[in-house]
């Protein structure tokens, strides 16, 4: 149990970065302004890089010969452990920005915790990722402010995106047995502890963006345990098609 908890714990971070990177890379060549094609590609590249470190480590912990690609391309949706938030569709630029902001802000807190992990590999991956995340957060937060405090239309769009995505934020702060092992063994943190600092930052940014923080609502959950929204299956079908259709091939 303890080993499998650690593997699943590492997969949660790896799958979160992987699924969000996969979502973001679909924007490249279609962004609202060319500078954003460059920026979204950067964030996506960073997240793929983080995913590769996490998945490689998960594969090593498992010791069954699965490398990053085996884990990325040959698992089904039920075996993915990312939070639901990151698999939500790209929608328009407001949806993508809000999803990114909620994740980036959470990741900034989570990676700071993990940087002090007793597991040296986890700590090292978190320390490297944290530097990248600081840029991602700065960019997504700037866009929240610009869109919220931009035109009537941008304000309306970002408000709708916040209302739509809010119910996927709660899962970031709900612990389970795996988290309990992570805390007990000193390689992870208690997700609940990040909720208040996260909310405090959201309130401050939203105030600057002239946006309202939504009222309490039922929070969707299940991604960490492998019970996803229907969207993840399509994302994986597209991402995995080649290695799945030619399992013998090396690319």
């Amino acid at each position: 149990m303890r080993d499998s908890a650690r593997i699943e714990y590492v997969l949660r971070f790896g799958d979160g970065a992987l699924v969000l990177a996969q979502r973001l890379c679909a924007w490249v060549a279609h962004a609202p302004v060319m500078e954003e094609d460059v920026a979204v590609a950067n964030v996506s590249l960073d997240l793929f890089g983080q995913a590769r470190m996490w998945l490689s480590y998960a594969g090593e912990l498992e010791g069954a010969g699965r490398d990053e690609d085996r884990l990325a391309f040959h698992r089904d949706a039920r075996e993915f452990h990312n939070v639901l938030l990151v698999e939500r569709p790209n929608g328009d630029f407001a949806d993508t920005t809000v999803r990114g902001y909620f994740y980036d802000l959470w990741a900034s807190l989570a990676l700071s915790e993990l940087a002090g992990s007793h597991d040296e590999r986890i700590a090292a991956i978190a320390q490297k990722s944290r530097k990248e995340n600081a840029y991602h957060l700065r960019r997504s937060q700037d866009w929240i402010v610009r869109l919220g405090d931009g035109t009537q239309e941008s304000h309306a769009r970002v408000t709708r995106a916040v209302d739509e995505l809010w119910r996927y934020t709660g899962e970031l702060f709900i612990g389970d047995d795996v988290d309990a092992v992570a805390v007990g063994d000193g390689f992870g943190f208690a997700p609940e502890a990040l909720r208040e600092p996260w909310l405090e930052r959201v309130r401050a940014t939203f105030a600057q963006a002239t946006l309202d923080v939504p009222p309490d609502t039922w929070m969707q959950r299940g991604g960490k345990q492998g019970v996803h929204t229907e969207d993840l299956g399509y994302l994986l079908a597209e991402m995995q098609v080649l290695p799945r259709s030619m399992p013998e091939a090396v690319w």
């Binding site: 890379c25 490249v28 609202p32 590609a41 590249l45 690609d69 391309f73 630029f93 080649l242 690319w251």
Partner: protein, 324 residues
């Protein structure tokens, strides 16, 4: 990525006054023309068109390869492709910057593309149907780009020449990644080898056509050569590409789809079979397999993004800072 440079010359050369003699002298002494320098209107217009076509080609060129980013078959391949397409966006940005230095704004240039008035390289009007097409584009299309663009690093207009130095360095990485994909496929399973051959079959002739019409039909070569905007003719560059690429295909163990291809010991170049120029003009004329889709994708990005650009501008206006 790359553009096939249009030979179109705008208008006639200006009269022979002192400024023009000074301009000609700079050309003769191989000195660069810089944005504040006087230049003939026709030179300015021709360069604006050439550089902006090149920029449009980078931006439209993101689409065929972008088509495979979400489906790249390994994480390593995915990040390399993503970085490559990102480089193309960067190339587009430098080139629009170089074109703007001649006095036309990026928005004006982009709107000319979206309206269908401005051209981009016709090669991007072909579809990427398999993963091997990503390899073929890097190997052949970027290979052709390098041959076309290296001389432009020595062209007479300073900002264009300098932009091209950096672009060429990145293009050579792109070409190697394409060759590496082809190598892996050609030495992979039978199915992968067939995929690589099929990609070469479909991309070979369009790549050969990238250098533009034969010299015998290219009426504007002379002026562009005189202005040092163009340093070699279309046929010279095409021959160089073929001579370079045929041995690479042999290394890969792939067959070039030209039964007439053979080494000519007299000319010390390869002879090739007839090029289907009807196809070339058909695709340039708007009837390639993807012309409509490529342009529509750019129009959609522009229109769907309008509210974002307006919001950024409005926020900047309220807070007195730059938009982006």
């Amino acid at each position: 990525m790359y553009t096939s440079i249009s030979d179109g010359i705008e208008g006639a050369p200006d009269g022979g006054d002192a400024r023009e003699r000074a301009f000609d002298e700079r050309l003769d002494r191989a000195l660069k023309i810089e944005p504040p320098d006087w230049m003939p209107d026709a030179y300015r217009k021709t360069l604006t068109r050439q550089i902006s076509q090149h920029a449009h080609s980078e931006i439209v060129g993101m689409l065929p390869e972008g088509n495979w980013i979400t489906r790249a078959p390994s994480l390593q391949r995915k990040v390399i492709l993503l970085a490559k397409v990102q480089d193309e966006a960067g190339h587009g940005l430098y080139l629009y910057g170089a074109a703007e230095s001649l006095g036309t704004s990026r928005d004006e240039l982009v709107l000319a593309l979206l309206s269908g008035k401005a051209k981009y390289s016709s090669i991007f009007n072909y579809p990427t149907l398999t993963w091997a097409d990503v390899g073929a584009i890097g190997w052949l299309v970027d290979g052709a780009a390098i041959i076309n663009q290296i001389p432009i690093t020595r062209c007479s207009y300073g900002p264009y020449a300098r932009a091209m130095v950096r672009i060429c360095k990145e293009e050579s990485f792109h070409q190697r990644q394409g060759f590496d994909i082809m190598w892996t496929l050609a030495h992979g399973t039978a199915e992968q080898h067939a995929m690589a051959q099929d990609a070469l079959d479909r991309w070979w002739w369009p790549s050969v056509m990238m250098f533009g019409p034969p010299d015998s039909e290219s009426t504007h070569n002379v002026q562009s050569l005189r202005w040092k905007i163009k340093l070699f003719t279309n046929d010279e560059l095409r021959t160089k590409f073929i001579d370079q690429t045929v041995p690479q295909a042999e290394q890969l163990g792939l067959a070039i789809p030209d039964p007439d291809l053979r080494w000519n010991d007299e000319t010390k170049h390869y002879d090739i079979g007839p090029i289907d120029w009807d196809e070339f003009y058909r695709v340039i004329g708007g009837n390639g397999p993807c012309n409509k889709d490529r342009l529509q994708a750019r129009v959609d990005a522009w229109e769907d993004g309008a509210w974002v650009r307006e919001a950024a501008a409005e926020h900047a206006r309220k807070h007195g800072s730059d938009a982006a």
